[in-house]
C-alpha cells in the first residue's frame, strides 16, 4: 500500500478516567479498589434526547455519547462511513435475554435485549442517529478488533482521500464476563487497586471498559490531534518474530527505535502476558518516554483505543501525563513520534504509529 497521511481530526472517549472532556488531559487519576474499572460518564442528556435515552442500554448510551463527542470535536463534519470494534459487545443484553430464556423455559420472551445484543448494534445506532448511509461494519476479533477497524479505514482512505471515517471501539466491564473469565484467570484473584497494578506483580489483570471514537480523514484540519502513520497486527508471535517485525515496522515507516519519542506499552499487569512487551521496552526504548495505560482503563479487548487517545493527546497537547509515566528521561523540546505496542492475552500483538499532526 502506498504510504499516505491520515489524520485524527476528532476524538471522543468515555473511559474509567475523566476523558470525555477534550479540554483537559487526565486531570485527576480515578482510583478503583476492586479489580473492576467502570466508566466516568458524562450527563447523557447533553448528547441524547430523553425519549431515546430510556430505550438504550448502558453501553449504547456510552458508545453513542462518545461518538457524538467525537463528531462535535471534528466540528460536525459528516463521516462517509462508520467502522466499529468490540470484544464482547453487548454481553449484558445477551446474558439478560439468556437468563429470561432459561428461567422461563423459552416462553413469553420480550425481544428488547435480543435486539440490542448484536455486536453491530452501536454502528447501526450511530448511523441512524446521524443519518449516515455509507460504509458500515463491525470487527470483533479480540485484541485485533480495533486495529482491524483502523486498518479498514486507512485502506479506504488510501483509495479515496475525500472520505472521512468515524472509527470506534466499545467494551463493557460486564458482570457475566467477569464471572466467567475470572475463573479462567483473566483477572487478579485478590482485589487490586488500579493505581498500584504494576507495583504488585501477579497473574491476571483488571477488568476495564470504555468507548473511544476517532474521526479519521486524509486531510489536516485545525482540529487535528495527530497523524496515524501505520498499524500492524501479529498473531501469536514468538519473541524474536515480534521483535524483528517491530523493527521492520519502524523501518518501512523510515524510523529507527531512537526516533520514537514516546513508547506506549500495552502491559496489562498480568505477569503471564507482559514479559515480551516489557523486554521490548527495555531493549529498544530506554531513551524514549515510556508510558503505560492499563492501570487507568483496565484490560479489555479494545483497550488499545485508549492508548491511541493517550498518544494523540500527548502529541496535540505536547504534555506527558505523570500518572502514565514508567521511566525518567531528559525532557524533549518536541514530542513527535509515538509508538503503541499492545498485547491482548499474550497472543494478539499490535503496533500503531502516530506522528505529530
Amino acid at each position: 500500500m502506498e504510504k499516505k497521511s491520515y489524520f485524527v481530526n476528532g476524538v471522543g472517549v468515555i473511559s474509567p478516567q475523566y476523558t470525555f472532556d477534550n479540554t483537559v488531559f487526565l486531570p485527576q487519576p480515578q482510583e478503583y479498589e476492586n479489580t473492576i474499572l467502570k466508566c466516568v460518564v458524562p450527563d447523557f442528556k447533553a448528547y441524547i434526547q430523553p425519549v431515546q435515552l430510556r430505550r438504550l442500554s448502558r453501553l449504547l448510551r456510552i458508545g453513542l455519547s462518545a461518538a457524538i463527542t467525537c463528531l462535535r470535536d471534528a466540528k460536525d463534519e459528516a463521516p462517509t462511513g462508520i467502522i466499529t470494534s468490540t470484544g464482547y459487545g453487548f454481553l449484558d443484553d445477551t446474558a439478560k435475554f439468556l437468563t429470561e430464556l432459561l428461567q422461563q423455559d423459552e416462553k413469553q420472551l420480550t425481544p428488547t435485549h435480543f435486539m440490542q445484543s448484536t455486536y453491530n448494534a452501536l454502528g447501526g445506532l450511530v448511523a441512524s442517529h446521524i443519518q449516515c448511509t455509507g460504509y458500515n461494519t463491525t470487527y470483533v476479533s479480540k485484541g485485533f478488533a480495533f486495529e482491524t477497524a483502523l486498518c479498514d479505514a486507512l485502506m479506504r482512505l488510501n483509495e479515496d482521500a475525500s472520505q472521512h471515517f468515524l472509527v470506534g471501539s466499545y467494551d463493557e466491564a460486564d458482570a457475566t464476563q467477569f464471572a466467567v473469565n475470572s475463573k479462567a484467570g483473566y483477572y487478579r484473584a485478590e482485589p487490586t487497586n488500579n493505581l498500584k497494578l504494576f507495583e504488585r506483580p501477579a497473574a491476571g489483570s483488571l477488568q476495564g471498559e470504555g468507548a473511544a471514537f476517532f474521526f479519521i480523514s486524509a486531510h489536516k484540519t485545525e482540529q487535528t490531534w495527530c497523524s496515524i502513520k501505520d498499524t500492524r497486527m501479529m498473531y501469536a508471535p514468538g519473541e524474536e518474530e515480534l521483535t524483528s517485525a517491530l523493527i521492520d515496522f519502524l523501518l518501512v515507516n523510515l524510523l529507527s527505535a531512537e526516533d520514537v519519542d514516546i513508547f506506549i506499552n500495552g502491559a496489562s499487569g498480568d505477569v503471564d502476558h507482559d514479559g515480551i512487551i516489557n523486554r521490548i521496552g527495555e531493549r529498544f526504548f530506554t531513551k524514549s518516554e515510556q508510558l503505560r495505560f492499563k492501570h487507568l482503563c483496565g484490560e479489555y479487548c479494545t483497550a488499545s483505543s485508549f492508548a491511541l487517545w493517550m498518544g494523540a493527546s500527548v502529541l496535540k497537547k505536547q504534555q506527558i501525563p505523570g500518572i502514565a509515566r514508567m521511566n525518567c528521561v531528559p525532557e524533549k523540546a518536541s514530542l513527535k513520534n509515538v509508538l503503541i505496542v499492545n498485547q491482548y492475552g499474550g497472543r494478539d500483538y499490535t503496533f500503531i504509529l502516530l506522528e505529530r499532526g
Partner: protein
C-alpha cells in the same frame, strides 16, 4: 488498485449437504433442509429449522478433529468448510500458514454458552464446560480454527448480524487489493442455538411452515445453520501458482439503511445503495447481471424493501432472481458466504436455482422470482445480497473466472 481478486477454492456445509457437491445436488433437485429440531435441545421442537443432522461429536469426526477441545458447534462447522476450501484450492502447508483468515459470526459460541451458562459462571473446577471458558467471545472461534490449521498471517472476525460473511469477504478482498496479504480465507459460520431461535421467535418473524420468499403470503423466516468459506487470491498469486480460479470477485458494496435496529427501511435505501456500489466498483451496468441471489428471508419487511430496491436499480429489465433461503434456512452470519458459494455454482453450471414455495406475487412488486430450475442460463455475473440487523446491507458481485 486495479488488482483483480480471484476465488480459487470454496467449501460449504449446510442442512442440504456436507460439502459443495452435495449442496449443488440438493439445489438442482429442489431438496430442502427444513425439518424439526432434532439435535438442538429446545422446547420449540416443532418450529421448522434447517438443521445439520449430526451431533457435535459426529461433526468433530467429520472435521477430522476428534480431540476438538474447545471447539464449539460454530467453530466445528467453520473448520469443516475451511478444510474443504483449502482442499479444493490445494493449498500447501506454507500457503495456509501465510494466509489471512477472516471469519464471520453472529453470536460466536452462544450454543455452548447457553448450555453451560450457570456452570461457566459458578464453577472453578473442571467439567464439560471448562473447555468453553471463552465461548462468549465472538473472536474465539476464528482463533481456534486458525490454530488447528496453522494459519498465522492474520486472524480476524466480523460481526454485522446477517450480512457478516459478505463483509468478511469484502474485507478479505480489501486486504489483497492493498497488498497486505496475497491470500485470504474468508467466510462465515453459524450454529443453531436456543438464543437465536427464541430471539427471532420473540420478534414474531419465524414462519411455522416452510418459508416463502417474495410471496404475497410470506409469514417469516426459517433459521438454519452452516458455514462456507472462499479462498481469495490476488491476480499475481494466481498467475504465479497457475491455479485455476473458480470465479472472480468483481465488485462489492456496503451501506447502511440508517433506519431501525431490526427493520429495513420500506423503500430499501441501504439495499439499493449496496447493490449500486457493487455494480459501480465492478464497472458494470445492471444489464450485465444475469442472476440475483437475493437475501430474500421471507419476512414481510425484508422482501418488500429488497424487492423495491431491485426494481429501482434494474427498472424494467430485472434479471432472474431467487432466494435460496427455502433450502438452507436463514443461516445468519454464514448466509453471505453460503450464498456466494451458490452464486459461484450458478456461474459454473449456468443454472438458476428456483425460489421454492413461491405461489403468489407480492402486490407491491411488479416482479417475481424464478420458480423452476433454469439451465443453460447464460449468466456472466451474479449479484449476491446480504442484509442484517443494525441496518447493515452488503452486496457481492461475482463473475466467471474466464
Amino acid at each position: 488498485m486495479s488488482q483483480r481478486i480471484f476465488i480459487t477454492g470454496f467449501g460449504a456445509i449446510t442442512s442440504i449437504g456436507e460439502n459443495v457437491d452435495e449442496n449443488f445436488q440438493s439445489l438442482v433437485e429442489a431438496r430442502c433442509g427444513i425439518g424439526k429440531a432434532d439435535v438442538l435441545e429446545t422446547v420449540h421442537r416443532d418450529m421448522p429449522v434447517c438443521e445439520i443432522k449430526l451431533h457435535d461429536r459426529e461433526l468433530l469426526e467429520l472435521a477430522k478433529a476428534p480431540g476438538g477441545k474447545g471447539f464449539t458447534r460454530t467453530a466445528t462447522l467453520g473448520l469443516i468448510a475451511v478444510k474443504e476450501a483449502i482442499r479444493s484450492a490445494e493449498l500447501s502447508r506454507q500457503e495456509i500458514h501465510d494466509s489471512a483468515f477472516i471469519s464471520a459470526t453472529s453470536t460466536g459460541g452462544i450454543r455452548e454458552f447457553e448450555k453451560y451458562f450457570y456452570q461457566l459462571q459458578e464453577n472453578t473446577g473442571p467439567g464439560p464446560w471448562s473447555q468453553f471458558r471463552d465461548t462468549a467471545n465472538p473472536g474465539d472461534h476464528a482463533e481456534r480454527i486458525a490454530d488447528e490449521l496453522g494459519i498465522k498471517k492474520y486472524v480476524g472476525t466480523v460481526s454485522t448480524a446477517c450480512s457478516s460473511a459478505a463483509n468478511a469477504i469484502m474485507m478479505g478482498a480489501q486486504m489483497i487489493k492493498h497488498q497486505q496479504v496475497d491470500r485470504v480465507i474468508c467466510g462465515g459460520t453459524e450454529a443453531l442455538s436456543k438464543f437465536t431461535l427464541n430471539g427471532f421467535n420473540s420478534l414474531f418473524i419465524l414462519d411455522k411452515e416452510h418459508c416463502k420468499p417474495f410471496d404475497e403470503k410470506r409469514k417469516g423466516l426459517n433459521l438454519g445453520e452452516g458455514a462456507a468459506y472462499l479462498i481469495l487470491e490476488s491476480e499475481q498469486v494466481v498467475n504465479r501458482s497457475r491455479r485455476k480460479p473458480v470465479a472472480e470477485l468483481k465488485g462489492y458494496g456496503n451501506a447502511n439503511d440508517a433506519f431501525h435496529q431490526t427493520a429495513s427501511s420500506p423503500e430499501g435505501t441501504g439495499a439499493w445503495k449496496a447493490m449500486l456500489e457493487a455494480l459501480q466498483s465492478a464497472h458494470l451496468d445492471p444489464v450485465h447481471v444475469g442472476y440475483i441471489n437475493a437475501h430474500g428471508t421471507a419476512t414481510e419487511n425484508n422482501d418488500l424493501s429488497e424487492g423495491l430496491a431491485i426494481q429501482k436499480i434494474f427498472g424494467d429489465d430485472v434479471p432472474h432472481f431467487s432466494s435460496t433461503k427455502p433450502y438452507t434456512g436463514h443461516t445468519l452470519a454464514a448466509a453471505g458466504s453460503i450464498e456466494a458459494v451458490f452464486s459461484i455454482l450458478a456461474l459454473r453450471h449456468q443454472v438458476v436455482f428456483p425460489n421454492l414455495n413461491f405461489g403468489q406475487p407480492m402486490k407491491e412488486l411488479t416482479i417475481s422470482p424464478v420458480t423452476g430450475i433454469l439451465r443453460n442460463a447464460k449468466i456472466e455475473y451474479v449479484l449476491s445480497n446480504s442484509f442484517g440487523f443494525g441496518g447493515n446491507t452488503s452486496s457481492l458481485l461475482l463473475g466467471s473466472a474466464a
